[in-house]
Symmetry: C2
Subunit: 322 residues, 2 copies
């Protein structure tokens, strides 16, 4: 079985861990090793202190490779912050992004390889040589695509990098719009379209539908390729609130209600075949989409595995539809 | 009194600390604050992991600014090595240069400023805003000058960066020659020639006469400007051996005996007016150079201050000669 997953950061990475467990435990699949290709969001990427930082790719890589800070959900376990402390002592800006020392090393390796002319996809593969995440991790594109946020506050109306809005302002400054700078002319990274075309099913984890999954689908060619497949998504909204993170601030900026149903309608039946919602949202009905309810909090590995298994099962069940 | 010091790393930095103490304690200078301008060696500079590292400038800055690892003589106090550990886990080369986390932050700031177009002299000034070394620290040049070493071993005859020879091979692979790559077309950094011209005296600390002081003097224009001044040097050789480091390996490569007398003759009477040697070398006589003997080990702050004071006193005494 070949599965493609469009993943953001924390939610995507946790879902992927559950998916690996679920596939590993599917006894009936023992004769053929399932293959998971992850198309990672790079719209959150940012250059800080001359280092190229890819938060979502790294969260997936660290989580599946056993290096993640489990409590926090992002960043490295046993992290130290000596470099950051020193950069602050030098008065370096920005100070709102907390780069850890272990993380800095990843960004140094990446930046060195990029400077040497390797595309991000090759760099990501090289980093994964160490982490062995057990999936094929591809950036959505090798081109630079960065999500900027149009905000208006005391300083006037301006566009800031998504990370500044998310990390510095905790998404508290209302977003008027998201602009995916560079998306128009971006191309899917090598292997992305082929992986989707060869996939038996595509899963959308409970990642941010606007700035994570939305950014991936915004790379020309990816949405069309995905829409041609059997696609099952997991709602990132439970009972009118994001499971984690500040997806509500993103949804309201694009005029989408913060509800499991509204997110499914935003993806639309052209893209989505099945939609997993929490029991709380069991009454959500979406035209043209098969909705199934179950406990949807990824509160522990077993629960997460059950969610992933349900997503795969639903996709297999709907396999004839796309 | 205006003093210019041509400094390498550890020996130069320790001498400078003694010099600051000596000048601070010269009661007769109380009416005019002495000014020390340090012309730092940048021939040891190297780009590692995309970061520009200036070992000698940093050793001076950290030592005078209170951030040095006192036992080691270079690098930061309370240093950690998380980034290095991670770079090794990624298999990054080279692994023979032990960049500490605090040090990495300095190189990030420097590299960022260089990438933004600031010359090294402006970068050094900005870094010193934090460290306040109490001297004016100038790189010998804003141009890239790197000392390479011609060696011959099992891998054949080849040129390697000075740091590789010094740190990786501990100067154990015989050097056939030193090549100061870029020196021919380098220009003294802004302020260097003016500082020398306005100086009342120039001091050569017990730094490596070949790859530290020699590199500085190798920047076109500096040797001539210095030679026009009253110059007193402190021998880096005591009783036929380097006080510290591996200067003997450098001296033998250029055909100079490892002795206090031979080093003075290498500098030559055109450059040197006075020469401080250890009591062990009291019999050293150099044509055209005034030699004075005293205990020359910089074993503690008081001894170091005494050496620096003796160098200043000798230069003042010889003041009419240049």
């Amino acid at each position: 079985m070949r599965i493609v997953v469009l993943a953001g950061g924390i939610g995507g990475a946790r879902f992927l861990r559950g998916l690996k467990d679920a596939l590993h435990n599917r006894a009936d699949q023992a004769d053929s090793q399932p293959e998971i290709t992850v198309i990672g969001n790079t719209g959150d990427d940012i250059t800080l202190f001359g280092l190229r930082v890819c938060p979502d790719l790294d969260t997936v890589m660290y989580t599946l490779g056993g290096g993640i800070n489990e409590e926090q959900g992002w960043g490295r376990a046993d992290e130290t912050f000596t470099v950051r402390e020193e950069l602050i002592a030098y008065g370096m800006q920005p100070q709102w992004f907390g780069l850890g020392d272990r993380d800095v090393a990843t960004h140094i390796v990446r930046s060195q390889m990029l400077a040497a002319g390797y595309p991000l996809s090759a760099v990501t593969e090289a980093l994964c040589d160490r982490w062995r995440p057990g999936v094929r991790l591809l950036p959505m594109t090798d081109d630079q695509v960065e999500t900027h946020v149009l905000v208006e506050d005391g300083s006037g109306r301006r566009a800031i990098h998504f990370q500044e809005w998310w990390v510095r302002y905790r998404a508290q400054t209302p977003a008027q719009a998201f602009v995916s700078v560079g998306a128009d002319s971006a191309e899917p990274a090598p292997g992305v379209l082929a992986a989707v075309e060869e996939a038996d099913l595509v899963l959308l984890p409970p990642s941010n539908p606007v700035v994570s999954v939305g950014s991936i689908l915004g790379v020309p060619g990816i949405r069309e390729a995905v829409a041609a497949k059997t696609v099952v998504g997991v709602s990132p909204i439970i009972g009118g609130a994001p499971v984690r993170g500040m997806a509500d601030a993103c949804l309201s900026a694009i005029g989408v209600e913060t509800s499991a149903r509204a997110v499914a309608e935003h993806y639309g039946p052209e893209l989505l075949d099945g939609w997993l919602v929490d029991d709380t949202d069991a009454d959500a009905a979406v035209d043209g989409v098969t909705v199934r309810a179950m406990p949807l909090y990824m509160s522990d590995p077993e629960r997460t595995e059950a969610i992933a298994r349900a997503a795969v099962d639903l996709a297999v069940e709907l396999g004839g539809r796309s």
